[in-house]
């Protein structure tokens, strides 16, 4: 009797373990959902769709893109964290909701604990531009003017506690100048205000300003990233000009914590190949982001380091969630 019981138990264990191993070997056997944390049609979305398109050929199953925009990208990221860790739900993890937003307001996830990272695949660049008839020909002109006229220079940002905003705060700290932010609802309104001469400076990314730079309406003064903008290669980075900082922001992929290792490996492998594909590189170039692969470890590290650095910054600006009550 006892033996029989153990035999049954053993059999069950073999069956259960066996079937999960088999299942893993077969993964994926149904479509995979990819949650994008911004609206359809935007840069992050188009980039994610491009990377998914190639990966579904490698994985042999369709990847269904679902947009869950809102609250600065945190809603989509939260949905990834809350999903079942079976490898059938993955999502775009972007830098701001991971490394900045958790300090600013309560989010339903822990960026350091709730995710399995798959890769980082695209970098957003930042820089500061002025109207082409502006007296500021270089960043130095702007800094000198600001030194002589504290608080006179108004720069646009499309929200607080985002990399574009931090870059200007770093700059004003390191150059010892006082410049004032004017907050806009979105990128396009900010760029329009700069083109119309209502603000002195706009801090938008290449997709928003490169067309105007090439048409001779705006002038880039400096890149806030660690590299120059390849569309305007003559303009140096702030670091080259002696201000020792740069800001960064990334798009990557992740899954909820607890996805079995073999499945994770399969996903990582497929997406690494996809991020290297001609198809993907072409799209990302057109939407003026920078394709750069980061391993899961590197990407995780990026988030961890950024999370720490930004906490200090958010606290200093008085925007930390603990300072609001």
């Amino acid at each position: 009797m006892k033996n029989r019981f153990f035999l049954a138990l053993l059999l069950t264990i073999v069956l259960v373990v066996g079937s999960t191993i088999l299942a893993r070997a077969d993964y994926p056997e149904r479509p995979i959902t990819l949650i994008v944390n911004y609206s359809a049609g935007g840069g992050t979305d188009m980039c994610a769709r491009a990377v998914a398109k190639r990966a579904e050929k490698i994985l042999g199953q369709p990847i269904i893109v679902v947009n869950k925009p809102g609250a600065g990208g945190t809603i989509g990221v939260g949905a990834v964290a809350a999903a079942k860790p079976d490898g059938y739900t993955i999502g775009v993890l972007t830098y701001t909701p991971l490394a900045i937003a958790p300090h600013v307001y309560d989010v339903p996830y822990n960026p350091l604990k709730d995710f399995e990272y798959i890769m980082g695949y695209a970098k957003y660049l930042y820089g500061t531009s002025v109207r082409s008839d502006s007296p500021f020909k270089t960043l130095k002109d702007l800094v000198q003017y600001a030194e002589a006229n504290p608080g006179k220079i108004k720069y646009g940002v499309q929200g607080l506690s985002i990399p574009n905003h931090f870059a200007m705060v770093y700059l004003s700290k390191m150059a010892g100048i006082k410049i004032e932010p004017v907050v806009f609802k979105n990128t396009m309104e900010e760029v329009a205000a700069c083109l119309g001469g209502h603000i002195d400076v706009t801090n938008q990314d290449p997709p928003a300003v490169v067309p105007h730079i090439q048409a001779g309406k705006l002038r880039l003064l400096a890149s806030f990233s660690d590299i120059r903008w390849k569309w305007v290669p003559d303009v140096p980075t702030v670091k080259e000009m002696g201000y020792n900082f740069y800001v960064e922001s990334w798009a990557g992929l992740g899954a909820p914590k607890g996805v079995p290792k073999p499945i994770l490996d399969k996903l990582r492998d497929a997406f690494r190949k996809s991020a290297d594909s001609e198809e993907f590189l072409e799209i990302i170039d057109r939407i003026r982001l920078i394709a750069e692969y980061r391993t899961p470890e590197q990407f995780k590290n990026l988030v961890q380091v950024g999370y720490k650095e930004n906490e200090a910054m958010v606290l200093e600006l008085g925007l930390h969630k603990s300072q609001k009550k």
Partner: protein
């Protein structure tokens, strides 16, 4: 190339069989999307965007543009038939359009909306071709102080949206401003009225709000009255606008076309605001303002023309400057980038096939829409013959699915239901929803513009008076508010107050 040459070239692009087909496809999808509550042009266009990668960029943009203006056509249909705005710019159409339907005049209402849309769309296209570049430059002159003045002017139109008690309308406006301020305040980063709910960080969406206030509340109200229902039993009086209707609508359509075009050029929700302003303007100049809200055809003709005219205007900053005037245009801008086109000042020069092809395709598309929509009127009117017990559950289902489909968010569904109950109570106690919606839209824009202006001026309010455009707007608004004190204006104002 001269203008005529350009137009001829544009037609040669737009009239190729493939482009004609995509134009038709675009306006057809647009009409459908417009009719379905909830999902709007932005959602539809961005969902279709990836599928357009395989066709030529010009065809793709022709189709995507078709969806946009097709949607503006279709949006009025449900407003008129069942009091549910198909998209946000058709909110005001509910006010008189639905009343017309209740009086058996759904046909003329739908007809004048279609004709008005056609005329408005066409006039704005002529404007687009003739004066696009200089106008786009002029639109850039609108900075935060100018927007502030514009919003103040917009707020003064509140009074014309009320057909009942003015104090009640003002109370509703305050509620609207409060609802509009929900979410993260961009300037300070503070969370306002979010109660820790993450989904509320972006504020209350306009679609769940208006669908609740207008649509759901309508259903609730009718469920209650189901036994004594005989409103729609009145014989349908004609399917097309009569000569009298045309006479009454001619001027609103003309004014709406011009107004919509200019407001559409300005970045920031031109179509939406132009429809409200047009309604207010029509009521202001009307000889019988008391009829507004009771089924005045001018109240349908003006706003519907204006919101379609605004779509043409909205293309100007995108095509000439590379600046999208609204979210729909931002999606188009993304599309252009994907196709490897340079959106921006050089677009017109480097890709004349795109610019002139798309612009002329809009002429064709507008014609198609008219042909598509007029025969549909007969069909739509039949919808009203469906018994309520079948129609209303269907409406509810469509609303629920529609609202969920925007962000896949249950919170949006809940907001709609809560707004539905709120709207029901408001109707019971004779509080109107239109002033609430206007204040909800304008309030946050007004606040943003005010704070931006003050940031620019280092806190000095003089900025609103020293800049010519802003100063003129503010003075105009003050005059409008003070106008009841002037003797010759007093009579009309009294007439307004005594309605009902």
């Amino acid at each position: 190339m001269d203008l005529l040459g350009n137009i001829a070239y544009g037609f040669s692009v737009a009239l190729t069989p493939a482009n004609l087909l995509f134009c038709l496809l675009g306006v057809f999808i647009g009409t459908l999307i417009g009719v379905l509550p909830g999902i709007g042009p932005v959602g539809a266009m961005s969902l279709l965007l990836p599928t357009t990668f395989y066709i030529s960029p010009v065809s793709a943009i022709i189709m995507l543009s078709g969806i946009y203006y097709g949607c503006m056509y279709g949006g009025s249909t449900t407003s008129i038939l069942v009091n549910i705005p198909g998209e946000a710019a058709s909110v005001v159409t509910c006010l008189d359009g639905y009343q017309m339907a209740r009086q058996g005049r759904a046909g003329p209402a739908l007809g004048i909306a279609a004709f008005g849309s056609f005329i408005g769309g066409t006039i704005s296209l002529v404007g687009l071709m003739l004066v696009a570049p200089p106008l786009a430059e002029a639109a850039l002159k609108f900075g935060p102080p100018e927007y502030f003045a514009l919003m103040v002017l917009g707020m003064t139109t509140l009074i014309y949206l009320a057909s009942g008690s003015i104090p009640k309308a003002l109370m509703m406006a305050v509620v609207g401003i409060i609802l509009g301020s929900v979410g993260i305040d961009a300037t300070s980063g503070a969370q306002r009225f979010t109660f820790g709910i993450l989904e509320l960080n972006d504020g209350i969406g306009i679609v769940p709000l208006v669908m609740g206030l207008f649509g759901i509340s309508e259903v609730l109200l009718n469920v209650e009255q189901s036994f004594k229902r005989d409103i729609f039993k009145t014989r349908l009086k004609g399917l097309l606008p009569s000569r009298q209707d045309w006479k009454e609508s001619a001027k609103p359509i003309t004014r709406g076309s011009i107004l919509g075009f200019f407001l559409g050029i300005l970045p920031g929700g031109g179509a939406l605001i132009s429809s409200f302003v047009s309604y207010a303007m029509e009521k202001r100049v009307s000889k019988h303002p008391e009829k507004f809200g009771q089924g005045a055809i001018e109240g349908v003709a003006g706003p519907e023309t204006a919101n379609n005219s605004a779509t043409g205007g909205a293309f100007i900053p995108l095509l000439t400057l590379g600046i999208p005037a609204n979210v729909v245009m931002a999606v188009l801008l993304g599309a252009l980038m994907i196709y490897g086109m340079q959106p921006g000042p050089l677009l017109m020069r480097n890709h004349p096939d795109l610019f002139w092809g798309v612009v002329t395709s809009m002429y064709i598309g507008n014609g198609m829409l008219l042909v598509l929509n007029l025969p549909l009127i007969g069909l739509w009117v039949q919808v009203l013959k469906i018994p309520y017990r079948i129609l209303f559950p269907l409406i509810l289902v469509f609303c629920l699915i529609g609202v969920y489909s925007i962000n896949y968010s249950v919170t949006d569904v809940l907001i709609m239901i809560i707004c539905g109950i709120l709207g029901y109570l408001m109707r019971k106690f004779k509080y109107e929803a239109a002033p609430l919606v206007l204040a909800y839209i304008l309030g946050p824009m007004l606040e943003m513009a005010l704070r931006q202006s003050l940031a620019i001026s280092n806190g000095s309010f003089a900025i609103f008076l020293t800049r010519p455009i802003a100063g003129t707007g503010i003075v105009l608004a003050i005059l409008l508010v003070l106008s009841p004190l002037l003797p010759w204006m007093r009579r009309r104002r009294l007439a307004l107050g005594e309605e009902r």
